[in-house]
Amino acid sequence: MPHVDDGTLHALLDGALRAEDPARADAVEVHLETCPDCTALLEQAVAVRTGTASILAALEPDARPDFDEVLARAGAERAGAAGVGGPAGGRGHGRATRGLAWAATLVLALGTGYLVRDRLGTDPVAPTPPTALSRTAPESVADARDPARTAVPDERAAGPAAQTATGPLSTEEAGAGERVAPAERRAAAPAPEPVPAAGEAVAAGEPVATGAAPARSEVAGRAAVTTAEPSLALRPAAGAPAMALEAGLAAPEWRSISIAEAGTLMDGPVYVLEGAEVIALLARGRGVHAEVRSRQLVPPGVEVEVSQRRLAEADRQVGRLPPAGAAPAADRDAEATELEVQESVEAVHHRHRITVTGALPARILERLAAGARPLRD
């Protein structure tokens, strides 16, 4: 096969190549495993792609009114009223430039060659053929080779999360949760009793009923810190029972699924955190009791767990997130400076409640959760 051009590599990383031409995607992947020149080009493409995401993330708006406003506006326009109204100027950049210091670090890192050579070249795990997940979730093909999974000169990359991300777990985990070997992949599948207390017991609503409600408010109902709760996260939180984590891997009700299946299960989009890549997708349950869990890689290389559930109709009508369970702000702030601690936050997007757990400061998780977006199939 001839060398691969930049556009093809970007299409591969974007999942579009597999969606449009699976056979060619296979051929490109095979070629990449043996061609150092194209692997180097892939490294550049990944870095540029990640850098772009970080730059664009610095340009975020902040708004989501209720659909009723649209209906009212349409009615007004049909009645001959003015169309585009509203204030000019004003608040503007509420979330537009939200905390991207780490993104800047990431962009600056572009020239330092923090990439996937070890994974595509010397890493013995790298030649693993495309897996079930990569077949059904095109973007995960790129994710398994995302440079952010290897080494980034960010301070967080030196922490335990980054160590696990570079460990022998990564590539195979991206393949399929079903094939997980518990002892080696303690974090590849959800724990047996994953966060249901915060998720099911408390009604959550959609805090977007008012026209001016910013998306930021969606994380207002974040849950308590889950230091004692079994979690999918790579590093067990302090006090989290390791055995429970491993037992969770064998829990029969969890199954690896495709993005399309997850979307059907959720009756809506599956959410991916801002700037993150989905590296494993699992689900359990049916109907309104269904839960989708994913492991997502957040630049510059920290893995977090994202749980998604459907909001019950009654919950949505409440129109607010549950107040219970939130840790006092002072506690959260204290723990936010200690990355050994697993934080957990909640956000509501449309008809879904998203719980994000990871070894990042709560404010970072909140930002990520608030920026969660539908995952493309």
């Binding site: 100027g89 503007g92 537009a96």
Partner: protein, 167 residues
């Protein structure tokens, strides 16, 4: 079957606001235009509602740009007033965010129209096929366009950083 606009709205609105914000640089205005785009689409039944509403929004944003000069004068006044307000507690963090945002915006402005549109539409969630239709490209050319646009954006951002470092 009639388009379920409520569903399209739920699944598209944040992306649409993000897309519009990066064109008009005012969150309230972007939100307003996004609502307007939906309001103007409700009596339509397009094959690809998501792509359709982005097209309507792009047209609205283009019209919006025509009034930019007038609005800029107003924003200048607002900025002068804001400068007189007391600094918030975490002023350094806020300034850093604003600095990054300004440079990111400047970097985006350095791109040509097609590259910028490709980036914004992709980032707003449109597929390669939808991008191809919007930009008048073949699907195969979308990857090349995005690759170039991304590379230029990163280079432009780094240039902005370097320019700022030189003072």
């Amino acid at each position: 079957m009639a388009t379920d606009w409520a569903r399209v709205y739920r699944e598209t609105f944040p992306d649409l606001v993000r897309y519009l914000y990066r064109k008009v640089w005012d969150a309230d205005r972007a939100r307003d235009l996004a609502q307007d785009a939906f309001a103007r689409s409700l009596d339509r039944d397009p094959d690809d509602p998501r792509s359709w509403v982005f097209t309507v929004a792009a047209n609205l944003a283009r019209d919006e740009a025509r009034s930019e000069i007038r609005r800029r004068r107003h924003l200048t006044l607002v900025r002068v007033e804001a400068a007189a307000e007391p600094a918030p507690p975490d002023v350094l963090e806020r300034l850093e965010r604003e600095r990054l945002g300004r440079r990111a915006r400047a970097a985006l402005a350095r791109l040509n129209d097609r590259d910028r549109e490709a980036l914004l539409l992709w980032d707003a969630g449109l597929s390669y096929r939808q991008l191809a239709a919007r930009l008048g490209l073949s699907v195969g050319a979308v990857g090349t366009t995005l690759a170039r646009a991304r590379r230029r954006l990163v280079e432009a951002f780094e240039a902005e950083e370097a320019h700022a470092a030189r003072g």
